[in-house]
């Protein structure tokens, strides 16, 4: 039985480690500026945790095999422990765990402790059961007022957001169902929700943030690779949670300018 346990534990350990190392189902390609640092922190964590995982499981398997009672009449080694060992492994564990956290902290600080830079592409993202809408401020650079009484999801676009036609700033706001942004330029997002909590998650951009009703949350990211990336809602929001998806299209600055200009022209 000891041998059986050792074999099964070691096998499970090696098999699961293999799939982590082979990265068969893994992070998508990182299309934002923060991806490199985040992926690196993943790698560091995997190496450290992976070593601990393998060593601990292998040790467990080894110990239950080696110290099996095998009919010899000898007794177990009598010991109540070792204070020295306790201090040693406690200290090492503290250093390892807290150190790992502190290594990753500057990345978090860079992502979240500062507001977006001036000149970022501003997009307001609104989640509602069960769709994402995106709003651009238009040539006046201001987001128009919205009023909850005017919100009408069946109308789509401006109607769904409840754009107030009386506010002059709202006339030039562009509302789309697809988010288009220029590459290599910081994007400032303002996240809102109308009804329940949703979450704006784009795995390829290493970006996630909950959209909370009653709040307008400012975030930023910088796309560095042209392409089309899927958005998946990442906070349970009702029966349509599984199909509340959208698309972020990262295009060249030129293409973006043309696209936006065409949309703004439609609004005149």
């Amino acid at each position: 039985m000891g041998l059986g346990l050792l074999c099964v534990i070691w096998l499970i350990t090696l098999l699961s480690s293999y799939f982590f190392i082979a990265k068969k189902w893994w992070l998508p390609v990182g299309a934002s500026a923060s991806a490199a640092a985040i992926d690196h922190q993943f790698a560091v964590t995997y190496v450290i945790v992976g070593v601990v995982f393998v060593v601990a499981q292998m040790a467990l398997g080894f110990l239950v095999w080696k110290y099996r009672a095998d009919g010899s009449t000898g007794r177990a080694g009598y010991s109540h422990g070792s204070t020295k060992l306790e201090i040693l492994w406690t200290t090492l564990t503290i250093i390892l765990f807290v150190g790992l956290n502190l290594i990753g902290s500057p990345i978090w600080a860079a992502e979240r402790f500062r507001p977006a830079v001036d000149g970022a592409t501003r997009v307001e993202v609104t989640g509602m059961q069960f769709a994402w809408y995106f709003r651009y401020p238009g040539p006046d650079g201001k987001f128009g007022a919205t009023r909850p009484e005017l919100e009408d999801p069946s109308a789509g676009g401006e109607g769904a957001l409840g754009l107030d036609p009386k506010d002059p700033s709202s006339k030039d706001d562009v509302v789309t169902g697809v988010m288009e942004v220029p590459v290599d330029r910081e994007v400032e997002l303002i996240l809102r929700a109308h009804d329940v909590i949703h979450s704006f998650f784009v795995p390829a951009l290493r970006f996630k943030q909950d959209a909370v009703p009653g709040l307008a949350i400012h975030m930023h990211f910088t796309p560095i690779q042209i392409g089309t990336y899927e958005i998946a809602c990442a906070e349970l929001c009702g029966l349509g949670h599984y199909k509340m998806h959208g698309v972020v299209k990262v295009v060249s600055q030129n293409e973006f300018d043309q696209w936006l200009a065409a949309r703004e022209a439609d609004k005149q």
């Binding site: 099964v8 601990v52 422990g81 009804d195």
Partner: protein, 577 residues
């Protein structure tokens, strides 16, 4: 049960109702809790089976139940989580085994307040009935997840099941809070006031320490959950706006304004994080107990184990924000919570080292309890080590609300803690029922469960890394999920096999109760007080006399002693420690 002359408050009861229904005997109450949890776990498992089937065959039509709609999937998910966390993991390890064995292991004739004990069981039972009744009302059970985030849980029109079903869910949880607090009161008072002579705190078995600390956690946490439930009920039914801001749902104004969804999260997780330690600590105590017994060695580092459990309890109240990194909470708070979270990994690691130290130089006997204790250690290591990923906010950006999270918590709560329950069952069954369970069937149960649960829950980490969000009823709408379907299929097939394996446990349990081999008083040659009493124990546990304790709880393999184990009531060891 042997009628026993006893000068206490209550002699042995007569009559079926007093003996088995409204019993005041902590042993009967413990068994009642255990069987409630057994029913609950099969309900919860059935719900998860339906979930797994729907995920890989969304259009399938099941016999009797028909097609499972997306909202039904979410109701299954909500009730699965709620029933498992409350009625299984907070019930069997603590109220089940703790009720039965805490008094005996500390040398007491019963819990401090037997009437309160009886009431706390029946209150729990009522809570369970109310919870299950949510399935039967118009709209069905709620779909807001066991975490019940507002405003989804606060708006009756947010989805099917969010009407009466959600109210019943809250009421059930509120009743459960009261029942738990009654139990915690009993456990703490009993541990502090009713230990036998010589049973100092530092001579208590680690199971008793675990039950004691778990009760303290419950005492501090359940009041907060109750408060959150009251506020939510008020938002839902009395028009208040604790959690709901100005907004619309389906184009209709909700009628609320000014509330904060994040307030719910803070209150819920202030309870919710200690709750997961409530779920695992008794299992840790049982693992320590079994590993020591079956290695024939004292637990390595008894004091360190006690301090580790105390640290886990204390730190457990300081980390709740790690569930909220992506919530819109301040990023500075996130940093603080993440440092505390990494810190709480330390005492858990210490316990693991000490378990390995217990095995080292042991004389390991591979009886069924030991297999599950060893399995506990392996699963706890696996589940625990995915923690450092989620504890770092910068990595949590990618992993929050993906399948990585259920992978993490199922390995610890949904398997390791369950292995603690299994281990405790196999270990204490002989004392409780006077018979031995079948070792052969038990071994099959172990292999099915150990391999099966790894097969189910390890692949979930890969899904999370690939960005598969959780609580999706199907994978058909988001394109990047399509390549992950083979993994989901594998998990479902593994679940079929593993769930099937649990039936052999139930078979073993009931057939052994009826016709298992008769057990001697101390079949495992163990040292703690429950093994000094008759099998099953008499009504007042110790047959009229109070034990006097001279030794620590884990004196195995003492050099120079006549046997390889010295019981706690045996004459004091020459080498006092």
């Amino acid at each position: 049960m042997v009628a026993q002359e006893f000068h206490g408050e209550h002699g042995a009861p007569q009559g079926f109702i007093r003996k088995y229904v409204f019993s005041l005997d902590h042993k009967v109450i413990g068994i009642q809790y255990y069987f409630l949890a057994l029913v609950a776990v099969f309900v919860g498992m059935f719900l998860s089976l339906l979930m797994r089937i729907h995920l890989i065959w969304p259009a399938a039509s099941l016999p009797l139940l028909g097609e499972i709609k997306p909202e039904t999937y979410l109701s299954l998910l909500t009730m699965h989580g709620t029933i498992m966390v409350f009625f299984v993991l907070t019930t069997a390890p603590q109220s089940g085994f703790g009720n039965y064995f805490l008094p005996i292991q500390i040398g007491a004739p019963d819990m401090a307040f037997p009437v309160l004990n009886m009431l706390s069981f029946w209150t729990t039972f009522v809570a369970f009935v109310v919870m299950v009744s949510a399935f039967l009302v118009t709209g069905g059970a709620p779909l807001h997840g066991w975490t019940g985030y507002a405003p989804l849980s606060a708006l009756q029109s947010a989805g099917p099941g969010e009407g009466l079903g959600a109210d019943l869910w809250i009421i059930s949880i509120a009743i459960f809070c009261v029942a738990s607090l009654m139990g915690a009161l009993n456990f703490i008072t009993t541990t502090l006031d009713m230990r036998a002579r010589g049973m100092t705190l530092m001579r208590m078995p680690l199971t008793c320490w675990a039950w004691f600390i778990t009760a303290i956690l419950g005492l501090l946490a359940f009041g907060v959950l109750l408060s959150a439930g009251i506020l939510l009920l008020m938002d839902r039914n009395f028009g208040t706006s604790f959690f709901v801001p100005l907004g619309t749902i389906n184009g209709q104004l909700t009628g609320h304004r000014g509330g904060s969804p994040l307030l719910w999260q803070h209150l819920f997780w202030f309870f919710g994080h200690p709750e997961v330690y409530i779920a695992i600590l008794p299992g840790m105590g049982v693992a320590s107990q079994i590993l020591s017994t079956f290695s024939r060695k004292p637990i390595f580092g008894y004091r360190a184990m006690v301090y580790a459990m105390l640290s886990i309890g204390l730190l457990g109240f300081m980390v709740w924000g790690h569930h909220m990194f992506m919530s819109g909470m301040s990023p500075y708070s996130a940093f603080a919570f993440s440092v505390m979270t990494m810190a709480i990994g330390v005492p858990s690691a210490i316990k693991t080292f000490n378990w390995l130290g217990t095995l080292w130089h042991g004389r390991i006997r591979f009886s069924a309890p030991m297999l599950f204790a060893i399995g506990f250690v392996s699963l706890f290591v696996s589940g625990g080590l995915s923690g450092p990923f989620l504890a770092q906010p910068v990595l949590d950006i990618q992993l929050h609300d993906t399948w990585f999270v259920p992978g993490h918590f199922h390995l610890i709560m949904g398997v390791a803690a369950i292995f603690g329950i299994f281990g405790a069952t196999y270990y204490w069954f002989p004392k409780m029922f006077g018979r031995m369970m079948s070792e052969t069937i038990a071994k099959w149960h172990f292999w099915f469960s150990f391999i099966g649960t790894y097969a189910i829950f390890m692949p979930m980490h890969y899904l999370g890394m690939a960005g598969h969000p959780r609580r999706y009823s199907q994978l058909t709408e988001v394109a990047y999920l399509a390549p992950l379907m083979p993994v989901q299929k594998f998990i479902t097939y593994a679940a079929f096999v593993t769930i099937a394996g649990q039936f052999i446990f139930v078979w073993n349990l009931f057939s052994s109760m009826r016709s298992g081999k008769k057990a001697v008083d101390n079949p495992w040659e163990a040292t703690t007080l429950e093994w000094t009493v008759a099998t099953p124990p008499p009504h007042d546990n110790f047959g009229g006399h109070t034990p006097v304790v001279h030794n620590g709880p884990y004196e195995y393999g003492v050099p120079g002693a006549a046997r390889d184990y010295v019981m706690q009531t045996d004459p004091a060891l020459v080498a006092a420690h």
